[in-house]
């Protein structure tokens, strides 16, 4: 058996797919027409309500506006491409053999799926429910051959299951316009008074062939439901992308966030249908200004988030993107948004019972994003402001980097239980100071504009490195005790021999 997934008024549904479910229900009852083409744009698609209001293909915008109450939308190929990909994914959730027959129509082979999804009618309902999840209202036709399934889906709304051997009876009341015939042939049939498939099926085959050739005979066989062909499987596209073109460019984050959330949720539904997760989210924004000003390509803003572990939760991904985009400022209104996820296999290993309690992996990235929103991403030298410190393999004092904090179980041995020692509290950046020397020892210095007398000094300890390149450093270190009004403070100071400047590196604390 074969199932056909048909999206009635595909361009209209593709344009309204990102709207919330309630809004889509309202749009279903209100007339909508899709305009496309060079000036003047003409109607290329419409929904049933618009059809009832008298709108026809090819009408200009002015003609449509005279009807009144018609909602006009600009055709977006990006939205249609996203809808087409979502429809294919919807089919792939039920069968590995899926044919993308034409935009808005997908046929799948249901052979062997009965044990998984139950009866064909039950499968049809499940497919329709899944379609609703990706924002598409589907007609599903199930029949013994692909073409009959397609005609059933195109001709009847809802779920239609044609029992094997009764195709001709079920297809009989359908109009001949459901057939994939050339417009001239349909005109000829109309002149003959042939308007239903039943009428076409009743014509004498030889006479029909004499007048319409092999095409006529093929159409008659289709009308009888007697054809049989193999599906042409659609290529499996690993790229999961959703895009949305705004009719009017948006300027506020709230407007953008609404569509961003919808796109991410749709991608997560598609990931879920493939039993996959993602560890990389990419958001591309096309800005409006440049094209208007210079006629060149639009300015693009691209942001990539890499996650330490695969996630399937759309809320986590949205929150992550929203927190980051909230910090960004754009030079122009946003015209188009494209969201892409890199599919990977979901995490299948449970964490060990014996590792310490750690922050929830999915929430950790959001926590880190919120922290970065407060303290910033990195300092002036490019070192991250939040993460796990890592010691660099260098003799240069205070050389470290900050790596992303994964929150996962720590690996590798570390010197546990070392003896507690006195450590240095680093002043970062080191405090510039002036030191008076007496008998080649520091005698007096100023810290934060206050003068202190040096009681004892230990040094100099000479230290240098990287003299072979531009990042050379050379210093004489002193550990000193200074008398303050609160007591004695033990500091580490050093003379930067390249800059000829004294610094206070830190205090022993």
């Amino acid at each position: 058996m074969f199932a056909c997934l048909f999206v009635p008024d595909f361009p209209v549904q593709a344009a309204c797919r990102m709207e919330p479910k309630d809004t889509r229900e309202i749009f279903k009852k209100s007339p909508i027409a899709i305009l496309d083409g060079p000036t003047p744009p003409r109607v290329v698609a419409m929904n049933q309500a618009a059809r009832s209001a008298g709108i026809q293909i090819g009408m200009t915008k002015l003609q449509v506006e005279t009807c009144g109450g018609i909602s006009l939308r600009k055709r977006s190929l990006a939205n249609e491409e996203s809808a087409r990909a979502a429809l294919l994914d919807c089919g792939r959730a039920f069968s590995p053999c899926v044919e993308s027959t034409c935009p808005g129509t997908v046929i799948l082979d249901l052979a062997g799926t009965e044990k998984l999804f139950g009866s064909h009618e039950s499968t049809g309902h499940k497919i329709a429910d899944h379609g609703a999840q990706v924002g598409l209202e589907l007609n599903v036709g199930v029949a013994a051959n692909p073409d009959s399934a397609m005609f059933a889906a195109r001709g009847y709304s809802g779920i239609t299951v044609i029992p094997e051997g009764r195709e001709a009876k079920y297809l009989a009341p359908l109009e001949v316009s459901v057939l994939p015939a050339a417009p001239e042939v349909l005109d000829i049939l109309d002149v003959w008074g042939i308007r239903t498939l039943q009428s076409l099926a009743g014509l004498p085959p030889i006479a029909l062939t004499e007048r319409l050739g092999q095409e006529g005979l093929q159409l008659q066989r289709l009308a009888c439901g007697k054809t049989c062909r193999t599906l042409v499987p659609a290529e499996s596209n690993e790229d999961l992308t959703e895009a949305y073109e705004f009719e009017d460019p948006v300027e506020t984050l709230e407007s953008l966030a609404f569509i961003l959330d919808r796109l991410i949720q749709q991608l997560c539904v598609r990931l879920s249908s493939r039993s996959l997760a993602t560890n990389q989210l990419e958001v591309m924004l096309e800005l409006e200004a440049k094209q208007r000003q210079t006629g060149q390509d639009r300015e693009q803003y691209e942001r990539v988030w890499k996650l330490p572990l695969p996630v399937q939760d759309g809320r986590v991904l949205f929150r992550l993107a929203y927190l980051d985009l909230g910090k960004s400022s754009f030079s122009a209104p946003i015209h188009k948004i494209t969201v892409r996820v890199v599919p990977v296999r979901p995490r299948s290993v449970q964490q060990s019972l014996f590792v310490p309690v750690s922050p929830e992996t999915e929430q950790l990235e959001i926590t880190l994003a919120r922290i970065r929103g407060v303290v910033g991403i990195s300092d002036q030298s490019g070192i991250a402001c939040a993460g796990s410190p890592t010691i660099l393999d260098s003799h240069k004092p205070d050389s470290f980097s900050v790596e992303p904090f994964s929150g996962g179980p720590a690996s590798g041995a570390f010197p546990a239980g070392s003896e507690s020692v006195l450590v240095l509290r680093i002043f970062r950046p080191a405090l510039e100071t002036s030191v008076d020397m007496a008998a080649n020892k520091p005698h007096c210095l100023s810290i934060r504009k206050r003068q202190f007398r040096v009681l004892a000094a230990s040094g100099p300890w000479c230290n240098s490195g990287f003299w072979w390149n531009n990042s050379a450093w050379s210093r004489d270190e002193w550990d000193i005790a200074v008398k303050t009004w609160e007591g004695i403070g033990y500091y580490r100071i050093y003379l930067d021999k390249i800059r000829k400047q004294w610094f206070v590196e830190g205090i022993f604390d």
Binding site: C385, I391, I426
Partner: protein, 234 residues
């Protein structure tokens, strides 16, 4: 006239918890790794706010206690260090055995921001407490000017105290002076007694820790303990 026992039984029948004796669960602690301090209070209490105070201008040993605490805690917990002045030395922490891969280090005040480093530190602490999963959260505001920390409203300390009560997290603040008053579960003051030189080289610091306030073992008067820490090269 009904007897007291009868009244009690009638009330207990309707409100079973009315006469129940509330036993506060024994609070867990995280050892600091310095025996003398752990002997005083068992370590840093989990589910409470701890203040470790010491002067900013002179050596007091509070940073050494912090690093020692991180070293011990990171063996069994994930830790977070909110560094308001970016004074943490990863090399020293690594040498004392801190598992740096289990440490989230947040460096405040490194970017131009509408928030001051102190505000950043408090906001980040709030986020970390909400997030959960960290066994130890250290907020180092030891180099922030005292006049700024004094302006922190008491409600902030109270909020931290109430939030951390519900988590198995120890919240430790490194400061110059104690500010959380009754919101703190433990207040520890660190001072230096003397330094020992071997020839011209400093080799050892003699320090004193004093408990100013302890919720579990309330001292009638402050108790102190002296201890020594060697320098890294001694």
């Amino acid at each position: 006239m009904p007897s007291a026992d009868l009244l009690r039984s009638q009330i207990e029948a309707r409100i079973p918890a009315a006469f129940a004796v509330y036993r506060r669960p024994e609070r867990k602690t995280i050892p600091t790794g310095i025996t003398q301090i752990d002997d005083l209070n068992g370590g840093v209490p989990v589910g409470a706010l701890t203040e470790i105070c010491g002067s900013d201008l002179v050596s007091s040993g509070r940073t050494s206690v912090l690093i020692s605490l991180l070293s011990k805690a990171s063996q069994t917990h994930f830790c977070a260090l909110v560094d308001a002045s970016d004074t943490f030395d990863p090399a020293s922490a690594h040498k004392t055995g801190t598992n740096l891969s289990r440490l989230l280090w947040v460096r405040c005040g490194k970017n131009q921001s509408k928030f001051t480093p102190l505000e950043q530190a408090f906001k980040v602490t709030d986020i970390l407490l909400q997030s959960g999963g960290f066994g130890l959260i250290v907020v180092d505001i030891g180099c922030i000017a005292e006049r700024l920390v004094r302006r922190v409203p008491l409600s902030s300390w109270f909020r931290f105290s109430r939030v951390v009560e519900r988590h198995s997290t120890a919240l430790v603040l490194i400061e110059q002076q104690p500010h959380a008053t009754s919101c703190a579960g433990l207040v520890l003051r660190m001072t230096m007694v003397s330094a020992i030189f071997s020839g011209r080289v400093i080799t050892q610091f003699n320090l004193r820790s004093e408990i100013l306030r302890g919720r579990e073992k309330k001292p009638s008067q402050s108790v102190s303990q002296d201890f020594s820490l060697k320098t890294q090269w001694a």
